[in-house]
């Protein structure tokens, strides 16, 4: 089994949602790519991330903000983080990750164990996904990671 997350950080997803919001809540993918000077292969992971979290949907070539997407843009930082956490916990990837960490006696995992959990895929791909786990997980205050000790745990 291969587990992965789209290679995109929080700031870029929020940025894309803000751009779409300023255009009335929906925009053509190709227009976004041209206006933002982003190649489609750079834009797609951002859209994929927003979709995965339930903040946007793609409908016949248009990226459309969902109700959750609009709400998160209107929220302050703390509420944003809460919403992020809620949405992340709806994703199978994070549900399984949480179960996996809980199943460890120590309640912690290091990057090596995490690499094994991600399954057979190229190392570069695994590293990107680990980076995103830390990125999203820290932002949503779902996960704490101490790089000195290489310890990842649930909050």
């Amino acid at each position: 089994m291969e587990r992965r997350l789209p290679d995109v950080g929080i700031g870029r997803m929020l940025g894309l949602m803000e751009v779409i919001s300023s255009r009335g809540g929906e925009e053509n993918t190709v227009t976004l790519s041209a206006d933002l000077d982003l190649q489609l292969d750079e834009l797609l992971p951002v859209i994929e991330g927003c979709e995965m979290l339930g903040f946007a949907e793609v409908k016949s070539g248009k990226v459309v903000l969902t109700k959750d997407g609009k709400e998160i843009l209107d929220s302050h930082i703390d509420k944003r983080k809460n919403r992020f956490r809620q949405q992340m916990l709806k994703i199978q990837f994070f549900q399984e990750l949480a179960d996996f960490i809980k199943s460890r006696k120590s309640g912690k995992v290091g990057k090596r164990t995490l690499n094994r959990w991600l399954g057979a895929q190229p190392r570069a791909a695994r590293e990107k996904t680990i980076q995103r786990i830390l990125d999203w997980g820290r932002y949503a205050e779902l996960i704490d990671y101490k790089s000195d000790a290489d310890e990842l745990r649930l909050l």
Binding site: G11, L16, R80, R138, D144, S147
Partner: protein, 254 residues
């Protein structure tokens, strides 16, 4: 008795020259303007026009060749704790954690460790970095790094916040997100500075963010125009009124 209120920030006949291999170069020439309390001001100009030099002089980081900068009625001095700076390339210390980087200015001010931590944590939270307290800069994306830069600047409770192209090292989406969050903080007056002076090469960005814009020319740079942006906030970059302002600035430059 006549009471003349001194401007919050006053730049008076500022000039900057340097010489290289016997040639004298004039970077800034006779720059004068003032900024009031509560104003968000942008300085725009072509790249290489010396706007970063101007900002560094305003912050007291560089000495002008002529003229002077007055902040709260006093000549500006280096290390003024009432003035903070956000840098284009973040300027974080790689061997320190997020929390330690944010504490830097407080430590320099000689604050007790406990108090430092309390304030630093508050600003880490305000800029959306809680959860990253113990992360090192290398673990962060560009956007998160600039949040650290912002938290570090705000933590000292500056009266004046200087920002040098704070979004230009970020990809367009991250930049959009951070612009928005800076404006949210500014709007809610959670941000401590009374005033902001931001340097940018992007006319759209300046019109999107500023109350007033100073337009600089190519070197020897002068202020060629001052423009009050009267658009209500939040501003819509797709609106006709917005384009009108963009056109106006372009026509002033060319």
């Amino acid at each position: 008795m006549i009471f003349v209120k001194k401007p919050f920030l006053e730049v008076r006949k500022l000039s900057a020259n340097y010489s290289e291999e016997g040639h004298q170069f004039v970077v800034l020439k006779d720059i004068s303007f003032s900024v009031s309390k509560g104003e968000f001001v942008c300085i725009v100009g072509p790249s290489g026009c010396g706007k970063s030099t101007l900002l560094r002089m305003i912050a007291g980081l560089e000495k002008p060749s002529g003229g002077a900068v007055f902040f709260e009625g006093q000549p500006i001095v280096a290390e003024n704790p009432r003035v903070a700076m956000v840098f284009q390339n973040f300027a974080l210390l790689p061997w320190l954690t997020v929390l330690q980087n944010v504490s830097l200015g407080l430590e320099a001010a000689g604050m007790a460790k406990d108090a430092q931590k309390k304030i630093a944590l508050r600003y880490v939270d305000i800029v959306g970095l809680s959860g990253f307290e113990n992360a090192y800069p290398r673990e962060l994306s560009g956007g998160m790094k600039q949040r650290v830069g912002l938290a570090r600047a705000l933590a000292v409770h500056p009266g004046l916040l200087c920002m040098d192209e704070p979004f230009s090292a970020l990809d367009p989406l991250t930049a959009e997100n951070l612009r928005q969050e800076v404006l949210n903080l500014w709007k809610d007056r959670i941000l401590p500075p009374d005033s902001v002076v931001m340097v940018t090469h992007s006319i759209e960005e300046a019109i999107y963010m500023a109350d007033r814009i100073f337009v600089m020319s190519k070197p020897p740079a002068k202020i060629v125009a001052t423009l009050k942006v009267t658009l209500p906030r939040p501003r819509n970059r797709k609106s006709e009124e917005f384009y009108h302002f963009v056109d106006k600035v372009y026509s002033l430059i060319t």
